[in-house]
Point group: C2
Chain length 145, copies 2
Amino acid sequence: MNTEKRMRMTPQRRIILEELRKTCSHPSADEIYSMVRKRLPRISLGTVYRNLEVLSELGEIQKLEAGGSLKRFDGNPAHHYHIRCTCCGRMVDAPFQVMERLEERLDGADGYRVFGHSLEFLGICPECRRRPIAPGLGHLNGPHR
Amino acid sequence: MNTEKRMRMTPQRRIILEELRKTCSHPSADEIYSMVRKRLPRISLGTVYRNLEVLSELGEIQKLEAGGSLKRFDGNPAHHYHIRCTCCGRMVDAPFQVMERLEERLDGADGYRVFGHSLEFLGICPECRRRPIAPGLGHLNGPHR
DNA sequence: TTAAATGCAAAGATTTTGCCAAATT
DNA sequence: AATTTGGCAAAATCTTTGCATTTAA
């Protein structure tokens, strides 16, 4: 059986995608709303959010900072990396040595002064691997594409 | 003149720090609130947020996903890295080749299946470098420590 | 006595949802 | 006709803020 949903390329969806492809500014949902509204004055913010969700599930766009909506805090102030479970959001420290001065060769690029970096690995934690997958959520157990 | 504020190690602040040091679970503000409330039942969520802010400014803890509160979207679905301006939040693509299979040597660590990574560089964009710094915000123009 | 911190509640900001009408297949 | 999408507004979630009061130097 083919559980895949067909997706219609509605005008709203197409224009959101076009605007996003057109810019390199990595806009927020609200900025996209403003951009799109110039062409579709009656579109609603809810539609923008829904379409951004659909487009990123399809791999047409990327949702950045997709990991978590809520901030997390780390009692260890030393620079280190993390692995985030894309299924439940759980984070653990990554046993991976920090690449010191990784940013040095970027410093000055595009006029930016670059002084640091943050690396996050994405994975599935043991609990989520074990747990039976809820119907329709299987894609959460691995990369989408 | 010394514009620096003195900071008191209040019981609330100390206990928040203790709880955060005690765990390796990278809790959210709300989880920290729950943890701390077992020892200080009358503490308020606002106090937790305020203290987490202070502690991370002091470098005692780290605020993860500190970059932006709002999600951003990228019309380029290919894997690539970004530089984020820690001053204004602006993001640009980083001219830095993706390190393919960086996560391979982590796969299996702690029982995690690791299938990807996300790397973000931190810097100051040209506009923010040029702009006069608002009083008290100078720390935003470089690493804190 | 004075600056800083707390508790409480209200306000903000961002994102998600429910519902019904409209559009598409 | 059945299904999906859109618009609108309300709800939900997470975070910040105002203010009167308390605490500590």
